[in-house]
């Protein structure tokens, strides 16, 4: 009798413990799950449904369009231009923002006394409100009042209307994008550099990697590989989401030269209320983001070489 009770007691207690764990587990994730469903999953479903209709916000009815919105978007010269502009922007910001940050990180890392000063200076734009700073940039680049043009004039160059010239507007926004991102990437690279053991540099020095180029090619660059990959992809995603500077500084102009995908989605969805069409555009936007993320996942898996 006693022996049976003793033998059966532990499993019963275990079962109870498992039940408690299940219920608390479910209870703990419930709020998160509800929010996930309400703010991400359900909206995605609704968005998908909207994208196959011609629904306009405020309207009473909507017709089923199938994939016509997508077909229209892919054929729309405005959207095509916006996608191309966005990709050009990414193509300028990524090399500038990643390799510039890498250079700065390598130079800053070896400073002893001035390191934290430089860190603060380069990081400052990350914490600043881009919209406010965009206004300042606008003034800085002003053709007649801005100091940048004044300096150009002093050097004997002509006046450049950076933001109102179709050929320079997008590149100018990209430079501002780099300005905003550089410190963030620098900090990530500094963390990556710190993780490289000092022993390796010393071994390399004895082995004959005396110059900076050799040291970089033999140790720093290969060992920084995973960090670099991560920084490239996050920079790509951030750059692809460009919106703020366009909305404040150029509004897509001049002559559509700075129209970017997210800005067009904003216009279609929240200004013109072509809700169905904007939903289809949003999925095109999401497709790009997912491709970038996938690149990261696969590349990082491969890069784990030690």
């Amino acid at each position: 009798m006693n022996a049976i009770a003793l033998a059966s007691a532990p499993p019963a207690a275990m079962r109870r413990r498992l039940w408690i764990e299940r219920f608390t587990g479910l209870g703990f994730v419930l709020p998160a799950f509800i929010l996930l469903a309400l703010t991400i999953l359900l909206p995605l479903v609704v968005l998908l449904l909207l994208s196959v209709t011609n629904y306009e916000f405020g309207g009473v009815s909507a017709d089923w369009l199938g994939f016509k919105n997508y077909a229209k978007a892919l054929a729309d010269p405005v959207i095509r231009r916006a996608v191309v502009n966005t990709l050009v922007y990414v193509a300028i910001v990524v090399p500038g923002g990643v390799f510039g940050a890498l250079l700065i990180a390598i130079l800053v890392q070896r400073r002893r006394k001035t390191r934290s000063l430089y860190e603060v200076i380069y990081f400052l734009p990350v914490t600043s409100t881009l919209i406010a700073m965009a206004t300042v940039w606008q003034f800085l680049l002003h053709p007649s009042l801005g100091p940048v043009n004044a300096v150009l004039k002093w050097f004997g160059f002509g006046q450049i209307a950076f933001l109102s010239e179709p050929s320079t507007a997008l590149a100018t926004l990209a430079v501002i994008g780099i300005w905003q991102l550089l410190g963030f990437n620098m900090i990530l690279f500094l963390a990556g550099l710190t993780a490289i053991p000092r022993d390796l540099y010393e071994a390399a020095e004895i082995d004959g990697c005396a110059g900076g180029i050799d040291r970089f090619l033999t140790i720093t660059w290969p060992l920084l590989g995973p960090t670099t990959m991560f920084v490239i992809v996050t920079t790509m995603i951030t750059a692809f989401k460009i919106f703020d500077t366009v909305a404040v500084m150029t509004r897509g102009g001049p002559i559509g030269s700075t129209e970017v995908l997210l800005y067009n989605i904003y216009l279609e969805g929240f200004q013109y209320f072509h809700t169905g069409y904007a939903a289809a555009l949003t999925f095109i936007f999401l497709a790009f983001i997912l491709v970038f993320s996938a690149v990261q996942t696969f590349a990082l898996d491969k890069k784990v070489h030690y």
């Binding site: 479910l26 995605l44 700065i104 990350v126 914490t127 919209i131 700073m133 206004t135 963030f184 809700t275």
Partner: protein, 296 residues
């Protein structure tokens, strides 16, 4: 050089450092600092120009001649004009309310969820974690339109709630905290259970305090992101009284102040200052926070 001027100090010879090596070292130092300083000027130029312009009178601003320092101090006029034209302090307060509100809910929701994902066994755990990972790839601009429609239907546009609601769930926070909690020793949790603590107490009294660095890092990350976010407030807020700093700045720039750069830069200074000052005070926290949230 100084070494050569010194008399030979007894039998102990100083290590030989040929002049060529010194020159090379000097050259590389100059080159390194040259690059760094040039970059630093590029980074600082907007801040410096913002501060200078905000204390210049219009006559000097519109003068084609560029001067680094105003001849006439006009700061009081610019700042008081900016403050009188738009509720700048209200914008900043809105930013604080927005950031605090979002952060509190994010932590309350994400911490128990992350703990459950890291340490408890329950049905659907792995599926939920996959959803969290997928959620990491979805920027807020994607669900924005359905959320906007829902908020409009519920009559909730132009409220603090509408500004915060898409951010209440941070899948990133869940992911970050889960990674952190996983390395928390199971033995301590078992010991706490044996001592009669409930899971609720274990989360908030044992595990959460140990995750302080991750929480601080995430808080910095979250605050920087939401203080500076424009896209979502632009969509749901049209009432200037509720505008957070970026939207407020946009309203202010759109109003008749158009090309009054003195007032514009004064406003920009006021709206940028809180976060920048916070950064300058707690710069180690900021930098560590970005490092941790970035590298994972």
């Amino acid at each position: 050089m100084a070494e050569i001027a010194l008399p030979a100090a007894g039998p102990v010879a100083a290590p030989i450092t040929p002049a060529g090596a010194i020159a090379r070292r000097l050259f590389s130092l100059v080159l390194i600092h040259g690059i760094l300083i040039a970059g630093a000027i590029f980074m600082l130029l907007p801040f410096v120009w913002m501060l200078i312009t905000s204390i210049k009178p219009p006559s000097e601003i519109f003068n084609a001649e560029i001067s680094l320092w105003p001849k006439q101090f006009y700061g009081v006029e610019n700042y008081s004009f900016a403050l009188s034209k738009a509720p700048l302090l209200r914008f900043a307060l809105n930013g604080v309310i927005l950031c605090v509100g979002i952060l509190v809910v994010q932590l309350l929701v994400a911490i128990p969820c992350a703990y459950a994902l890291a340490k408890l066994r329950f049905p659907g755990r792995d599926a939920l974690f996959v959803l969290v990972l997928l959620g990491l790839c979805i920027p807020v601009q994607v669900p924005a339109m359905p959320l906007y429609i829902a908020l409009a239907e519920l009559g909730l546009l132009n409220t603090y709630f509408s500004m915060m609601v898409p951010f209440f769930l941070s899948v990133f926070a869940i992911f970050l905290f889960r990674q952190f909690f996983r390395s928390f020793p199971d033995d301590i949790i078992h010991a706490a259970r044996l001592d009669g603590m409930s899971e609720f107490e274990i989360v908030w009294r044992i595990v959460t305090p140990s995750a302080w660095p991750a929480i601080a890092a995430f808080s910095v990350f979250s605050a920087v992101a939401h203080w500076n976010d424009l896209y979502w407030p632009l969509i749901v807020i049209s009432d200037a009284k509720l505008a957070p700093p970026p939207l407020g700045m946009m309203f202010f720039a759109d109003a008749e102040t158009g090309s009054n750069y003195g007032a514009l830069t004064a406003a920009a200074t006021i709206l940028t200052a809180p976060l920048v000052i916070a950064f300058l005070i707690a710069r180690r926290r900021f930098i560590d926070g970005i490092t941790m949230t970035g590298v994972k």
